[in-house]
């Protein structure tokens, strides 16, 4: 049972790390970024490249990958998403346009890595980043140090990010822009700059999740982000779009449910859980478990 809890904690941390950035761009920009999985994969690919060819340590790889992937987000926003937002007549139109464009961007990024790796999955041996299995209480609990690190990072990031959005000037501007960008501009917020920074944070989180999870999974493949994107949708919907605490609770809840089904139930239904949860939550309580009054437009 302790092992089940530990497994769901580390799986849940993966989901939380992955979902925070996706939830952010959805709530602030109305962008359901389907290229997020590709950005995550880029982060993991950086971990592979630097580990195998430069023999850099995690302390070097992590900031480089975070900055590089954040840069892809800013570039995508500057050249594509910004123009789609400006031109669209209604929020639904701009959401659809950005969604479709993000599919195209995902294809571009994935094809580049597919060609670089010949479509194979590249191996990151556990020796590269000194991954070890730690045992606690004899043999009751096994967890690797990278899983432990992911759990800590997920929890710290969630708290730090929630505090950032709640208490800083910039966080307040972000929340305001999520509700009404036009009024926000009238009140002296540079919405375009705000959106760029939001995209950078979102991309940086994708890069961070990619590095850590790439090392944990020990391999990198150009489509590795796709299954996680659909899981992240479930996490975001359960918690409520834009709610950071909601994403955290949703991530751990989904991971716990999945681990339970794998251990005790019909494990072939594992992938159905996230979709079933999306449908149920949207039908029963579309605002998610942690709905805030004016955070989102449902």
């Amino acid at each position: 049972m302790i092992q089940v809890i530990a497994d769901s904690l580390s799986l849940g941390s993966v989901y939380v790390l992955f979902s925070l950035g996706l939830s952010l761009s959805w709530s602030v920009l109305g962008l359901l970024n389907l290229a997020y999985g590709a950005q995550f994969m880029l982060g993991a690919y950086f971990a592979y490249l630097f580990g195998e060819h430069v023999h850099a340590s995690l302390l070097v790889v992590l900031p480089v990958a975070v900055v590089a992937v954040a840069a892809t987000s800013v570039i995508a926003d500057y050249f594509v998403f910004r123009w789609l937002r400006i031109r669209a007549g209604t929020p639904v139109e701009s959401e659809l346009a950005m969604l479709v464009a993000s599919i195209g961007l995902a294809a571009v990024a994935e094809t580049i890595v597919q060609n670089a790796t010949d479509g194979n999955s590249e191996f990151i041996p556990s020796s590269t980043y000194k991954v070890r299995t730690l045992g606690f209480g004899g043999s009751t609990l096994h967890i690797t140090n990278i899983q432990l690190l992911m759990t800590v990072v997920a929890i710290v990031l969630t708290i730090a990010f929630a505090a950032f959005v709640k208490w800083t000037r910039f966080g307040r501007a972000m929340r305001a822009a999520a509700v009404d960008p036009a009024t926000c501009e009238l009140l002296g917020v540079n919405a375009n700059r705000l959106f760029s920074v939001t995209m950078a944070i979102s991309g940086g989180m994708a890069g961070l999740a990619g590095v850590l999870l790439g090392i944990d999974l020990t391999n990198v493949q150009f489509q590795m982000g796709d299954p996680l994107v659909t899981k992240a949708f479930a996490v975001i919907i359960i918690g409520g779009v834009g709610s950071i605490a909601g994403a955290a609770v949703g991530g751990y809840l989904l991971a716990f449910a999945e681990t339970l089904v794998v251990v005790y139930g019909p494990s072939t239904y594992q992938d159905a859980i996230s979709f079933a949860l999306i449908i149920i939550v949207l039908l029963v309580r579309p605002t998610g478990l942690f709905a805030q009054r004016r955070w989102q437009r449902s």
């Binding site: 959805w26 109305g30 359901l32 389907l34 594509v80 123009w83 789609l84 031109r87 007549g89 209604t90 929020p91 639904v92 139109e93 959401e95 659809l96 346009a97 969604l99 479709v100 464009a101 599919i103 195209g104 961007l105 995902a106 294809a107 571009v108 994935e110 094809t111 580049i112 597919q114 060609n115 479509g119 796709d226 659909t230 949708f233 479930a234 919907i237 019909p266 072939t268 239904y269 992938d271 159905a272 996230s274 979709f275 079933a276 999306i278 449908i279 949207l282 039908l283 579309p286 437009r297 449902s298």
Partner: protein, 285 residues
């Protein structure tokens, strides 16, 4: 004739995708991002395969699957009607993607994760073409008529549409029903054309493909869906020479269309034609 028989399967696939692209377009035109018709496409393909294995005549299967899908789609419309924008996209995406899991757990009835194969081919290209023509005719009538104008109003301003006396909810249910029915129709056809059905029909890849068809061609008219389905299905053939970079090209096309031709290729063509006419008029006067 040699060219045609060589590429017959691809032609058939193009025709099936045309119906599917129209089915997505019908809802998009109302300003509703629903991806549910890909799910009905998958269910329809299984229904077509199973019923035709039981020896049902193909035309009966087509009619039954289309009508049942339409009715189920109408029923779906009710609980989904209060969801907007990305939330609706999400709900319908979840509906699509839960199907492969259920179908691969369906035992011998659905053939598990391999799907069903060895299905008798009971539809030929001629019948398929005739059905596509009928669908296009019906949709073009809908577009010109009351429903087309109502959905245009709905997309540009819902409150305004309501104040003009358009029953917003009813239009949405109808669009849902038509979309689901066409999805089921396309599915039942593919079940009886291609000898095999598999749970992976309802995948992320197929959903993005169909969405791309509706968007690249243009959303304003059925002609856009036809152009889009044709282009997207044949692009891999034309781009065979660049090998693995096909998808990169596809992605760039998608982004470029969104940036420069928001009304799709059809919109671009119409714009070009009207500019030319205007110029000719200016020269004449």
């Amino acid at each position: 004739m040699g060219y045609f028989t060589q590429n017959e399967v691809l032609f058939q696939q193009t025709l099936v995708y045309m119906i599917l692209a129209i089915s997505i377009q019908v809802v998009l035109r109302c300003g509703v991002v629903s991806l549910a018709s890909v799910g009905f496409y998958t269910l329809g393909s299984y229904a077509g395969a199973i019923l035709s294995k039981h020896g049902w005549p193909s035309l009966v299967i087509i009619v039954v699957v289309t009508v049942v899908s339409g009715l189920v789609g109408y029923g779906f419309g009710r609980p989904l009607a209060r969801l907007r924008g990305l939330y609706l996209a999400m709900a319908t995406l979840a509906f699509d993607l839960v199907l492969p899991v259920l179908l691969s757990n369906g035992g011998s009835f659905t053939g598990g994760s391999l799907g069903l194969y060895g299905i008798p081919v009971t539809v030929n290209t001629g019948t398929l073409l005739a059905i596509v023509v009928v669908v296009i005719y019906a949709i073009s009538q809908l577009e010109r008529g009351w429903m087309g104008r109502a959905s245009l109003a709905l997309r540009s301003d819902e409150d305004l549409a309501r104040s003009m006396g358009i029953r917003v909810a009813r239009e949405r249910y109808l669009a849902f029903a038509v979309s689901a029915g066409l999805g089921g129709l396309a599915g039942s056809l593919s079940g009886m054309l291609f000898r095999a059905v598999s749970p992976s029909t309802a995948s992320f890849g197929v959903i993005t493909l169909v969405l791309a068809m509706a968007i690249i061609g243009g959303r304003e008219s059925w002609l856009g869906a036809i152009i889009g389905a044709y282009l997207v299905t044949w692009l891999p053939v034309w781009l065979g020479f660049i090998g693995l970079y096909q998808d990169l090209f596809f992605g760039l096309i998608l982004v470029a269309v969104m940036l420069f031709f928001p009304d799709g290729l059809l919109g671009a063509i119409q714009l070009g034609v009207s500019t030319l006419r205007l110029r000719r008029k200016q020269i004449a006067t």
